[in-house]
Assembly symmetry: C2
Homo-oligomer: 419 residues x 2
């Protein structure tokens, strides 16, 4: 990502990508009556890649996606759609839950997928919502079958993902490729995630599409790289869900016929990775900004770590510190909490080299408080966006993490029991 940007940031959801349709509607899973079922479809077979929660308690749709990827990941490019619901996570639902996830595939193939020749095994599934409650298939199956997919359906689809999200989250970028349909390739996506779903569980779902043609192993590698620097670097409350899912479909609709798919060796891989990185980062940052109860967005930049991995560890520890998050709420330039979190992160660290900045104010140098202006440091914490920096002065590793403040509202949201 040190290359000069070759991409154009654009507005749009996944339907901004050639060959993708989407739709969303309500089927009654959410007591609120809001949209709770949706789907994304590629008119042509797509190569697929995915990353999933590492929680040992995995929801049924996650198990199904992993099974499907093990199949399509073998170079067989035949992913066609993602069908999803909100209001119920289909997690800790046992064999019946897995059967219900398969019924979601079938309902999509029989319903909106039938016009496009979609087979059940070409459908990815995602769910988000309450844990441990069987899906109400009497509502969901008709809901999936009735879904209307179109180039205009992206907004409805992203609304159907939302739980405690207060804003829909989309991001898109484009880059020129000679010979592509329209002369450009688009990468675009949509996501949900704001901590957890009342009353049960945190989940992030992100669906990204591109009309580039991309070879399978490289697609997965590029996604992992983008996720590592985006979704893996946002922290709202540190609770890892049973349902976290990122899916990336590459359908080649903008690719000139006969042109080799991207495999990591072509010059176009640079803008492709930039566009994918931009979309994942945009979606991830939108989640951090929309953290439950959050009033402020926090960026933590770590430089000078012994490795990039160490830098990520330190940045995440700081952004995830309950104490720091409370300090951010109070606009308290409490650098002791930053240094403390850096110290317990587990990365290589020499306290006597530590440098800490709050916005533009360097508050710690060589492990000691500088003669900084308290008022200036506090002022840097006042805005809606707080930028913190740590320099370890050990090596060339760097990373950035994003989070939000901890507020009484967060606590209230997550202590209300909605019986």
């Amino acid at each position: 990502m040190t290359d000069t940007p070759q991409i154009e940031v654009v507005e749009g959801d996944i339907t901004a990508v050639q060959g993708f349709l989407a739709g969303g509607d309500r089927c009654g899973l959410k007591p609120s009556g809001r949209k709770d079922v949706g789907a994304i479809l590629s008119e042509r077979p797509a190569m697929a890649a995915g990353t999933f929660t590492t929680n040992k308690v995995k929801a049924a749709p996650v198990l199904l996606c992993q099974e499907a990827l093990a199949r399509v990941g073998g170079g067989v490019s035949h992913a066609r759609a993602i069908v999803f619901n909100s209001g119920n996570a289909n997690a800790m639902t046992g064999a019946a839950g897995l059967a219900n996830a398969r019924r979601m595939q079938a309902a999509f193939a029989e319903g909106p997928g039938s016009r496009y020749g979609v087979r059940p095994e070409e459908v990815f599934v995602a769910s988000t919502g309450v844990i441990g409650v069987p899906l109400d298939m009497g509502k969901l199956v008709p809901g999936i079958r009735a879904l209307a997919l179109s180039r205009e359906g992206g907004t409805a689809a992203v609304q159907a993902m939302m739980t405690t999200d207060t804003v829909p989250k989309t991001a898109a970028a484009r880059f020129a490729v000679a010979g592509a349909n329209g002369g450009a390739v688009t990468v675009a996506g949509m996501a949900k995630g704001a901590a957890m779903i009342a009353p049960h569980m945190a989940t992030m779902l992100a669906f990204v599409g591109t009309d580039a043609a991309v070879e399978g192993a490289y697609l997965q590698k590029a996604l992992l790289h983008a996720v590592q620097d985006s979704f893996n670097m946002i922290i709202i409350d540190g609770d890892m869900s049973t349902n976290d899912t990122t899916l990336l479909l590459a359908n080649g609709a903008a690719w000139a016929p006969g042109r080799e798919p991207l495999d990591g060796s072509q010059p176009e891989c640079v803008p492709f990775e930039q566009a994918l990185g931009h979309v994942c980062l945009g979606l991830a940052q939108a989640m951090a900004r929309d953290g439950e109860g959050a009033t402020k967005f926090v960026e933590v930049r770590v430089d000078g770590a012994a490795s990039d991995a160490d830098a990520r560890t330190v940045a995440r520890a700081i952004a995830g510190s309950t104490l720091l998050k409370a300090a951010v709420l109070g606009a308290d330039p409490n650098w002791g909490r930053i240094a403390c979190a850096a110290g317990y992160a587990g990365a290589a660290l020499d306290p006597d080299r530590l440098e800490v900045t709050i916005g533009r104010v360097r508050v710690v140098e060589a492990g000691l408080a500088t003669d900084y202006d308290q008022g200036a440091a506090a002022a840097e914490m006042q805005g809606k966006e707080v930028r913190l920096g740590v320099h370890l002065h050990l090596g060339g590793g760097s990373a950035t993490a994003w989070g939000c403040d901890l507020t009484p509202e967060y606590v209230r949201l997550n202590s209300d029991y909605t019986t």
Copy 2:
């Protein structure tokens, strides 16, 4: 700890142990004017053991204690005292901070220690409070020199440790030993810790004394074992301080002359470890009950883990889950958050074997929700003490962790900036 208890639980602080004096007073480090300087002294040389924060940013007194222990731990039993202050952590204060910690040793030896022939290097030091601010030695040195130590000074000493603690924390236990002075050995201690110190840093300090004679390596081993099941199993906010310190002094004052010190081989080691375990657990649980802003005490028991270490990992993950802590506040029998935290803890876990209980209500069996009574489960969350259980059905490992709820008051306490 599966042996029949052979101990008597008693009231008292460290001065309940033969040969220990204590005292505490105010010297002006705390703007509130509360007590902020104290000390504990053994009239006779004591064997010492200690455990400390693993944070890579360690406060000066921690570095000094570790240096001292490296010396006395070599079988040389000449620890005499602990001098401490609250209101300033003496952390991230560089070489000047270390020099100030040494000046605290010297001030004690020249002041109250001079009557007892205490040398500076026989004095342990602990600090708790604000990070990164030089200690005001103009206040602290006279404060230390003026300390009055006595058998009645335990209450003043424990008050001088307190920061955001709302109650002083002490625990004591006794067991009979034929031939000991008075026929009994006492283990007793005092501690502070309620999350972090306004406005900067979390710290727990615990000082425990015994009048048993104990050999050095065994003393350290017994302390590590007790700490593992007590202080290491309480979670308030997951932030590990720069100053956490546990010190254990064994002065042999109740030991019959000529009797061999405890080395792990004698039958009396059983009640000694029980008494030490009781004191550490009592102090640790008192911290969890006094968690900043907390309204409820939470106990998480994990059984059936592949190992005790796995059980500890899972119990700590559950007790530390921000989401679960919020659910406890709201008396929400939200077992999805328990299962989720168990799943991301990192221990071996088979979701299909998972069993979860809330109080006396089994809500999950073999990974699936039972047909439990929602009202009964909610009722188990209503009280001031909430007991959660997880059985992994994998092996014989078990552990218990303690914590508290997350409240808007915690957030308010930790977002207030006291300029």
